[in-house]
């Protein structure tokens, strides 16, 4: 870790004023400090934004929910309004990290967390994300955890967050503030694909501060949502493949609306409205689920070691949708306690 200056901002204006040069915002710090110890990130200063009153979780006028940027992931997952109206989000957050990390990690930080690609983490190896133009060690290397969709010759890293997959499915809106003012970023536009600028994870500008995440109303999905995470360990491991699935099913058994997003497969959560459209107006059955899975995975390309992710994702989509049909599990009751 390099020498750093530390400043605890009292309000947003102060925070933004300090946010120049090599200064970074810090809230939970669970990803930033990890990367600083690995010498991957070396900010000259840290601006602590925990005092900015950005931790509020509250309903928004016109329905929807506001998730403060510095609210902790655990507080968000366990919040009664989230559990009740957005159980998918609760399930996704609780599927990630460990209880200790969820108690510290902030919502904004979860969005901004960086890939866990082991080459990115090893400053002794070439990595275009860490050092543009230096090369990608993952291509032709060990790729079990790497992307099957949306990669480029410069970068095949994946975004590690579970929360973001749910936020993608929910069509969340990121609210940000800078010296220039406030703006909104649709979640689908927040994380980038690597293309030839893998060093840019998001479309957030330098010095721009996330203030909160807006969740549009989603009560139509509360009865049928599931987050399925498939990984090498039963807990506390990143996804090989994960699926956020939500269905609004009419009394006639016909799907009125569907949301589907994949994690662990790309530089950002992978969601295609066209795949979701294949479910709408049809019965909620395996044949239609498979068609949606196929559509979602168009263009999927393995790197050799991670070829398994393609059939795995296909099956996981079908399974997650089946789970969603059966009823919502918010991951606060464990597998073994459920009657299957």
């Amino acid at each position: 870790m390099n020498p750093i200056a530390y400043f605890r901002a009292a309000d947003a204006a102060e925070a933004l004023a300090h946010a120049s040069g090599g200064a970074r915002f810090i809230a939970g710090g669970t990803n930033l400090l990890d990367l600083m110890k690995e010498f991957v990130m070396r900010p000259a200063a840290l601006i602590d934004i925990n005092n900015l009153s950005l931790a509020e979780i509250a309903p928004l006028a016109g329905g929807g929910l506001r998730l403060g940027a510095t609210a902790r992931n655990a507080d968000t997952a366990y919040h009664p309004l989230v559990r009740e109206s957005y159980p998918l989000l609760t399930a996704a957050i609780l599927a990630g990290a460990s209880p200790q990390i969820r108690n510290m990690a902030s919502n904004g930080g979860n969005l901004l967390q960086r890939t866990r690609c082991h080459y990115f983490y090893d400053i002794g190896t070439p990595c275009n994300k860490r050092l543009p133009g230096s090369g990608c060690s993952a291509v032709g290397g060990l790729t079990r955890q790497h992307a099957i969709l949306g990669g480029s010759p410069q970068c095949i890293a994946t975004h590690p967050s579970d929360m973001c997959v749910a936020l993608a499915a929910l069509g969340a809106i990121v609210h940000a503030r800078s010296a220039a003012g406030e703006r909104q970023i649709a979640f689908a536009d927040f994380h980038r694909l690597p293309d030839d600028r893998p060093e840019q994870d998001t479309t957030l500008a330098s010095g721009e501060l996330i203030t909160h995440i807006e969740l549009p109303p989603a009560s139509q999905f509360a009865a049928h949502s599931a987050y399925l995470k498939i990984r090498d360990r039963a807990s506390y491991a990143f996804a090989l493949v994960s699926v956020a699935a939500m269905l609004d099913i009419g009394d006639d058994g016909v799907v009125r609306e569907a949301r589907l997003a994949l994690g662990g497969v790309a530089h950002k959560p992978w969601r295609l409205p066209a795949a979701e459209a294949l479910l709408v107006g049809h019965p909620a059955d395996a044949a239609h689920f498979a068609a949606a899975a196929d559509a979602l995975l168009v263009g999927a390309q393995g790197q050799g070691e991670n070829n398994f992710k393609i059939p795995l994702a296909r099956r996981a989509v079908v399974r997650a949708l089946e789970q969603a049909v059966a009823g919502t599990h918010d991951n606060t009751r464990s597998e073994r306690d459920r009657a299957d």
Partner: protein
């Protein structure tokens, strides 16, 4: 004789624990210290002016260091020195000085000795600073230029150049000569299976990282708190590598946060910390990072082939078991992988083979049942495969080939309760409900089933000395330079002594973890209780005899006419077994003796003649 060393903070059972016997479940005597955070591990002992060392790890697998640029690191505020092969203190030149007690044949790796890079992650420099953070940062600023040489690190790609290990390691037995004509029998067998089994490298990764805190006294004496499975092994190593007499170095390891074999050899933070302490004449602590815990000895990558042949009724007719394992370029690390296949099941035709491939790796080292974890696994999987081919119950197959005597030597086993284990296990796990066909049982979406496997291990015993001091107040201190890595040595030894002397557990302390204590071997091979425990038992028996003699000499002693065989020790008394009311208290015996304390020591030597019969 051996006093209680305050600094070790030897644990003792809670007041009120009372009498114990061997075999009784007893809470660990170090439990309180562990759950309250009072137990101190190697990186938790402090000293005035302590400096912190952080190791810089190499980044190529093979080659030479062309240059080390340490200026930027030295410029960091708080950094005191950057030690490399170019400016380190003098260390010995001959291999023999680097051989610790469990070193295999060959040349031990010498940290920071010269510019040679032997494996990826090798230590190449030590940054020493007033704070840990400054050392950590400065370590990132050290730049190393390398001359890269081609490397070989893949066992599978290099298996063609395997060789029979010629240089031996203490405790290693090469595979025995072939028995019968296994290959011919296998070729012609009615029923046979063949399989290849691959195991990758495994790293011990105990939760405590390797650490050494070297505390330097004004007179230059070094007291080192080291993470090790033997304080005396580390002391021996430091003395020999640095030419420091035994009186100049003390190593302590009262608490060790797991080891699993990795502490059987001194790890490189130890000589590096000593180098810094000698060079700078300061106390120094070096702790490895978790990432660096992958840069030294490990369970070797191993490839095995097992071929089994049997009659249709399940009687084994041939066993062929070959293994190829990796070792370093420097040492031939060997472990017993295949011998078990000749020892476990009765079979006339057996051929076993064991070869090594040297690669640009750190030397492998013992890890939890070294060799057996590979070999017995492969054998047992092959037995299962054979049972499926035979359409026979896997347990019935084992019983069919049960050996009452060790088939490879024709000697009885020292103990073999395996039949009873099989029976009890089968009953408890409902083995009779198991359907024979693999993959035939489901629960919801999951395939379920039962499996079984057999284990075998040597009952090893080494030599050790224990000393005992029985104080006038009836408290007992037994000492030996043993180790507790979580295995429960403190508790087991305390129980043995308390049982032998008939004292409540809270009056007994077993002191371990200091190189100045009576000689004890490395804690390894599952041999510590048999070794140190027997020494404790032995020294207590000597103490018993001394007490008995003194008891007989007391004025109007109720034991005046008793014989040693007639008496027992219980409740703090020496009693006549058949008349427990006829007794003298231990405290009275000592008081009557005119001494403040009674002392004994005992050297336990394994009875080799007897052991060779099994």
């Amino acid at each position: 004789m051996t006093e209680l060393i305050e600094a070790l903070r030897t644990p003792v059972a809670d007041q009120g624990t009372g009498a114990v016997t061997i075999g009784m479940p007893v809470s660990r005597v170090d439990g309180r210290d562990k759950v309250t955070g009072q137990a101190r591990y190697a990186a938790e002992h402090t000293a005035d002016g302590l400096l912190y060392g952080v190791v810089v790890s190499g980044t190529i697998p093979r080659g030479r260091i062309a240059a080390i640029h340490a200026d930027a690191a030295l410029a960091v505020a708080g950094v005191v020195e950057v030690i490399t092969h170019l400016n380190r203190p003098r260390i010995r030149s001959f291999d023999i000085f680097y051989k610790d007690m469990t070193a295999p044949g060959g040349s031990p790796f010498r940290p920071l000795y010269d510019d040679k890079i032997a494996y990826s992650g090798q230590p190449v420099a030590l940054v020493v600073a007033e704070t840990f953070e400054a050392a950590r940062y400065a370590a990132r600023l050290v730049e190393v230029d390398y001359e890269v040489e081609p490397h070989a690190t893949s066992l599978t790609e290099n298996r063609e150049r395997s060789y029979k290990p010629s240089r031996m390691k203490a405790g290693f037995t090469p595979p025995p000569d072939p028995k019968g004509h296994a290959d011919e029998v296998w070729e012609k067998a009615a029923v046979r299976v063949e399989g290849e089994y691959y195991s990758g490298v495994e790293h011990h990764n105990p939760l405590e990282m390797f650490a050494s805190t070297v505390i330097r006294s004004d007179d230059g004496h070094l007291t080192i708190y080291d993470k090790t499975q033997s304080s005396q092994n580390s002391r021996w190593y430091v003395s020999h590598v640095f030419g420091l007499g035994k009186d100049k170095v003390t190593v302590r390891n009262p608490y060790v946060g797991g080891a699993f074999g990795s502490g059987l050899r001194p790890q490189y933070q130890l000589p590096l910390a000593v180098m810094a302490a000698l060079q700078l004449k300061r106390s120094v602590r070096v702790v490895l990072t978790r990432q660096q815990m992958f840069t030294f000895g490990h369970r070797p990558e191993t490839l095995q082939r097992v071929k089994l042949a049997a009659e249709p009724d399940g009687t084994l007719s041939a066993i062929i078991h070959e293994a190829v394992a990796e070792t370093s370029r420097m040492e031939d690390y060997v472990e017993v992988v295949v011998n078990w296949s000749g020892e476990l099941y009765a079979c006339e035709h057996v051929r076993l083979g064991y070869h090594l491939v040297d690669l640009d790796h750190a030397s492998p080292m013992d890890m939890r049942a070294p060799g057996a974890a590979h070999g017995v696994y492969a054998l047992e999987v092959a037995m299962d495969e054979l049972s499926y081919t035979l359409k026979m119950d896997p347990l019935a197959l084992r019983l069919k080939n049960y050996a009452e005597m060790d088939p490879s030597r024709g000697l009885p086993y020292s103990t073999k309760e395996l039949r009873a284990c099989y029976e009890q296990g089968a009953a408890r796990f409902g083995w009779d409900q198991r359907s024979l066909e693999p993959g035939s049982m489901r629960e919801g979406r999951e395939l379920i089933g039962w499996g079984m496997a057999t284990g075998i291990w040597d009952a090893m015993q080494m030599f050790a000395r224990a000393s005992a001091v029985l104080h006038a107040d009836g408290s007992l201190v037994v000492s030996s330079a043993a180790t507790d890595i979580g295995t429960g040595t403190y508790t087991a030894m305390s129980i043995i002594a308390a049982d032998a002397m008939g004292l409540p557990l809270e009056q007994v302390r077993f002191q371990l973890g200091d190189s100045t204590l009576p000689v004890a071997p490395i804690e390894g091979g599952s041999s510590h209780v048999a070794t140190v425990g027997s020494a404790v038992q032995g020294v207590c028996e000597k103490l018993q005899k001394k007490l008995f003699k003194l008891a007989k000499k007391l004025p109007s002693s109720p034991l005046a006419k008793a014989r040693f065989a007639d008496i027992e020790f219980s409740g703090g008394f020496v009693r006549i077994s058949s008349q427990p009311g006829v007794a003298v208290s231990i405290i009275d015996i000592i008081a009557g003796s005119g001494e403040q304390r009674l002392e004994e020591k005992y050297l336990m030597l394994p009875n080799m003649l007897k052991q060779m019969k099994y």
